[in-house]
């Protein structure tokens, strides 16, 4: 069975700046994959390339065994995306937007209507029938973008910061939905700065820094790797499980080097 997402030797440069440098990754079907990195590491550039929003300078991308660059239309039928900008149309209502998206993904009228109703109710947006999307709060927009990303029942879902601006209750609902999708065999590729969420949801993680993948594997594998590196210093705490935040800081800190004392901003209060 081919990987759900496979990127090989993927690079992207902007003028002379190499944002993503020769990365390769494979996400197996059914995995909840977390893609982490500090600001400007290349996360959004990578997700844009994987979803067809940005052309790679070099490399190849396969989704469920299909080449994204050669067969973009075919591939896009099987993926759902919540991009950075949410891809919403301000002059439509939520219901009109979902209907539009459903039809764009080739669903028939009846199915689109049924799923629109179901999704709006599920997302708690059913009582916003007349309000235009332009008048939505950020969190409401996020929920709608997520609803639009799943309306066609994608097999692979890409989520760029899906929980940003979403309230705790709604976040809980969304997490349940995503876990449900995983249990039915879908693959989810998620970026988030909220490491607690990634730790709770994702089974596999890759960390990107300065355009390179610096760590990749299951959470336990990453933990073991970091613990092995820190073994002498952590012997007293060897029973304590490292959190994802500690793992992340260790890997990125190790890459970038800790802040030197002379770098401290002593003029700050």
């Amino acid at each position: 069975m081919p990987p759900a997402i496979a990127a090989h030797a993927l690079s992207r440069s902007f003028n002379n700046f190499l944002a993503v440098d020769n990365i390769s990754l494979a996400v197996e079907p059914g995995q909840f994959f977390g893609f982490l990195g500090p600001n400007g590491a290349g996360k959004s550039t990578t997700i844009k390339m994987l979803t067809g929003l940005l052309a790679p300078s070099a490399g190849s991308i396969q989704i469920l065994g299909e080449d994204l660059i050669a067969n973009p239309v075919e591939v896009k039928r099987y993926i759902g995306v919540v991009p950075e900008g949410m891809a919403l149309f301000g002059k439509l209502t939520a219901s009109e937007y979902l209907t539009f998206v459903g039809r764009m993904y080739g669903l028939d009228k009846q199915t689109t209507q049924q799923r629109t109703t179901e999704l709006l109710e599920f997302m708690g947006l059913a009582d916003q029938q007349k309000k235009l999307i332009a008048d939505f709060s950020h969190g409401m927009g996020k929920k709608l973008a997520l609803a639009a990303a799943v309306i066609h029942g994608p097999k692979v879902l890409f989520l760029d910061e899906p929980f940003e601006g979403v309230d705790a209750i709604a976040a809980q609902t969304l997490k349940s939905m995503l876990q449900g999708m995983i249990s039915r065999g879908a693959t989810i590729f998620l970026t988030s700065h909220v490491l607690e969420i990634v730790e709770r949801l994702c089974s596999h993680i890759a960390i990107i820094n300065k355009g390179h993948i610096v760590a990749s594997g299951s959470l336990d594998e990453l933990r073991a790797g970091v613990q092995a590196r820190l073994a002498p210093g952590l012997e007293a705490d060897s029973n304590a499980r490292l959190t994802l935040e500690q793992i992340f800081l260790n890997i990125i800190g190790g890459e970038s080097g800790p802040a030197r004392p002379e770098q401290e901003l002593t003029w700050l209060g």
């Binding site: 029942g153 876990q179 209060g269």
Partner: protein, 581 residues
Amino acid sequence: MAGLELAPPEKWTAAQTRAQFEAISRLRWRIFVNAFRRKGGAGELVSRIILYVFFAGFAFGVTFTAGLLAFLGAWKGHLNWLDMLLWGTFLLCQLTNIQLGQSGTTFDPTQLIRFPMRVGNYIAIRLFFGLLTPANVIGALISLAIALGITIALPSLWFYALLALAVFAIANALFSRMVFAWIDRWLSTRRAREVFTGFLFAFSLGIQYLNFTFNPAYNHHHQSHVPLERLTAALHLYHRAQPYLAKLPPGLVTSALLSARQGHTASFFAATAGCALFAAVFLAVFALRMKTEFRGEILSDAATAVAKPKKPLASARRPSSTAAPLTVAPLAAASITPRTFGLAPAVTNQFGKEMLYVRRNQGILFALVMPMAIAVFLCIKWSTRSSASWIFPAAVAYTLMGLVALSYNSWGLEGPGSQLYFLAPVRIRDIMLGKNLMNFALASLEIVAMLAVVTYTGHQPPITIILASLLWAAGTLLFSTALGNQRSLASPKKINLASTTRKQTSSLSGLISLGVMLVAIGFGVAVFSAALFFHLQWILLPLFAAFAAGGFWVYQRILASIDRFALANREQLFLELCKPD
């Protein structure tokens, strides 16, 4: 603890304030320059230069005319003419403001409130950085020209003329600043924008009606069509309003100069002070608005968006914590939509979405109604059996002038939604076709309505003229749309309906759109005139059919390659359309 004690803040100095002003000037300059460094920047620069040349020519023309009129008025002892001249200047400035926009539009100036700045400085920054607008430049130049005209005719009045006109120019500029600051506040909600657009529409229609009714240029051959009682009524209205108008800046400056001419220096200063008082009031009202902005006011609909209390729904939801995973059936289970009229589902779906957008965009709706209203005025004025052969083609050309411009920034209202077209399994060709079909449908509707109006209010044009006009319209529409499709992707401009002071289209696209229309109209007029002159009307049909066929060929060629073009330009597209408002 070393390094943690807070030193008492040093007193803010005038040098620091100057540095802030300098930094903002530099920021504006860099944003202006950097705009040309982006893809398509060279084209934008060229179009700006062309526009500036046009603007300079226009400014010179009106300035010279105003100076000449002031000179003639003063020379012939009719200084009271000045009143009309100053009202004209005032109206011209406001219209220029609406048409060419305000400066200070390169960044959101309300962002400045996060810096350590006194409210007075903020007001000063907002005032001074908005002063250099085309309208204010024209206003200042015309005021100066009027003062010079008076001075040349009556040298003894030089001081009075310069002083009074300087005060007038300041009042005029401050009025613009005040009005636009408040308009942006009022237009921050959608409902207010709808009301305002309706008001502007009614106002424009009213102006057009007055123009057709009272402008002697339109009534030259038909004196009898302008009822005398209507003219008398207009004059009566003017005389009744005159005492009130005399208390406003143009009237005050006129009366100040009349007083100076009669040697009543005290009256001159009193009237000039009256005008200065108006300027002070405009400044105060502007400052009031800026003061509220400075406190961090957020006005948009989104900022006040709150979820309404939820009504219990028929299918009661489970508590969120135990919400069952949504059962979204996989794509394979869904049947695929059949084609409608031979068009791909994406095309018809896009067409439906465009219909919703048109329905919710009053600006477009009014742009559709306006040509019809003008056609009614035209027909009432001029329609005779002989004029029917040119009124219909002219009406069609007028209709297209407004409609073709829409296709040059057809993605402007999409905003971040534009990403969806690249994420969904659709071809950009289908999206463009859906958008274009909407434009074609609007144009067809408009032309049919126009034909009905012309036929009903006047005479039915000859069938050859109708068919030739339709073929010309088809060719023009196809050529324009083909180019417009490429410009929409290569040089998009995010449309922000909430701001009157931001540019809504690329300058170069606007120029190309105008150029294509002028060429098409020139071609149409030349062919029509030649055919009518040589009594060869039959030649109109093959010529315009060839024109339409050429348009179709270019259109379908460009449409066929639009997917590749869109992919090549997608980064630029997202950069512009996904930027925050």
